[in-house]
């Protein structure tokens, strides 16, 4: 019966550590949120599943030779997967609304205060015993406020790989929670009259403008913020492929099969970083708390900026639009639309909110570049 003994020794039952059990439950929770609650299922399902696989005793998924090890090593450590996702997102993004009303970029800028305030907050947390965030850690955590998954994963993989799992989970979870987090803040900072403000209709934008816009973004990034060029560059490549109209087959592949394949792998690889050692610590609680702060502050600063702009602008600006500046495309824009409709059932803000929404994507990529340049060295 030596064989049976060997077999028993090779079962998980004989080898489970409590941390692994808890992490599997976390993975299960993510699956539940993804499937039952519809929380960013495209990412949270593979992440949750990856977390379960990674914590199987003797499973060996994350050791050299394990499939998750290879996927992480090839795709995340090199930064390739988040960049490919970003290229695909670029190929899905329509900048028309922003080109028609470029001032909306200021809302995308203001909402990034969520990032930098959170950075400060993370360092402040060090006052509480048990927290010991470096500037790198704090920066990686703060980027949750960018409300942009691949940006967060890219930055975390460069600045704080051991926090990557918690940061990615927080980022995607809060993005899914945008319809719950944002409305109270939006309503608290605006009056019903302000929420009813109607915007002027957006002009149509020429194809040439749409082609040149990503190149202009890239050009400015190259000049002033080379550290942001991996993210912004791949994003602009995707957008250029979409808009130029001559490489449709590449653009469609980037938006579909390629991003799907990479999403499966990216999710699994992120999940593989959800190990008890790194995740089951008070720091994770801190990250979750800071993530909520980041989204809240970002939303608030966007709305306040919109109110300020409204004062100085000749054309009316609905302050709700500011909330879309956090990005979380297209969820935040939809939330703006919904809250707007509650105030005035005939006031459709969706198209107007797409401007600050995509501006927020650029804004957080820029912020990521700044953090890489200043604390990444």
């Amino acid at each position: 019966m030596e064989g049976l003994m060997t077999l028993w020794q090779s079962t998980a039952l004989a080898n489970f550590q409590s941390g692994q059990v808890i992490m599997m439950l976390v993975g299960g929770l993510l699956l539940f949120l993804a499937i039952k609650k519809g929380f960013e299922p495209l990412l949270l399902l593979p992440i949750g599943f990856g977390a379960i696989l990674a914590n199987i005793p003797l499973g060996g998924f994350t050791e050299e030779g394990g499939v998750l090890y290879y996927i992480y090593y090839i795709g995340i450590e090199t930064g390739v997967f988040p960049l490919l996702i970003f290229m695909g997102v670029g190929a899905m993004t329509d900048f028309s609304a922003l080109i028609a009303n470029p001032k909306m970029l200021l809302l995308g800028a203001a909402a990034q205060f969520g990032i930098f305030a959170t950075l400060f907050g993370a360092i402040l947390l060090n006052l509480i015993p048990g927290f010991n965030f470096t500037l790198q850690d704090a920066s990686a955590i703060a980027i949750i406020g960018g409300a942009d998954g691949p940006t967060a994963i890219f930055l975390a993989s460069k600045l704080a790989p051991e926090l990557l799992g918690a940061i990615a989970v927080a980022a995607y979870s809060y993005m899914a929670l945008v319809p719950i987090i944002q409305p109270p803040i939006m309503k608290a900072l605006t009056t019903p009259e302000q929420r009813q403000i109607k915007m002027e209709q957006l002009r149509t934008v020429s194809q040439r403008e749409k082609i040149l816009f990503p190149l202009a973004v890239l050009f400015l990034t190259i000049l002033f913020l080379p550290a942001a060029t991996p993210l912004v560059g791949m994003f602009c490549l995707g957008n250029l492929m979409k808009e130029c109209g001559v490489v449709d087959r590449l653009s469609k592949t980037a938006q579909n099969e390629l991003i799907n394949i990479v999403t499966i792998f990216l999710g699994l690889a992120v999940g593989s970083k959800l190990n008890a050692e790194d995740f089951l610590s008070v720091e994770t609680l801190g990250i979750l708390a800071l993530g909520a702060v980041a989204f809240g502050v970002g939303t608030a600063s966007g709305v306040i900026m919109a109110k300020i702009m409204g004062k100085f602008s000749s054309k009316p600006i609905n302050p709700l639009l500011g909330a879309a500046g956090v990005s979380a495309v297209p969820m935040a824009a939809r939330v703006v639309n919904k809250v707007g409709l509650e105030a005035n059932p005939h006031n459709f803000l969706l198209m107007h909110a797409m401007g600050p929404n995509v501006a927020g994507v650029l804004g957080s990529a820029v912020a990521a570049g700044i953090l890489l340049a200043l604390v990444g060295g």
Partner: protein, 79 residues
Amino acid sequence: MPISELLLEAGLLMLVGMVVVFVFLTLLIFATKLLSKFAGQEELPQTLPAHPTSGEQAVPEHVVAAISAAVHQYKKNQK
């Protein structure tokens, strides 16, 4: 690093970061306006008709064939 120094650094990062984000995106506003000035509108009539037919594979023949078969099948199923 003592925490006070970290806090100072973080505060500076916050300041510098927000300034740069605003400066950068403001520059982008001007760039976009410039862009629209030179590239906006004019070629609309020219591109609009071009777009739908521009596709390398507007509607390839085998797709037409597949669809015609599918439409046929659909009509049959409807009966």
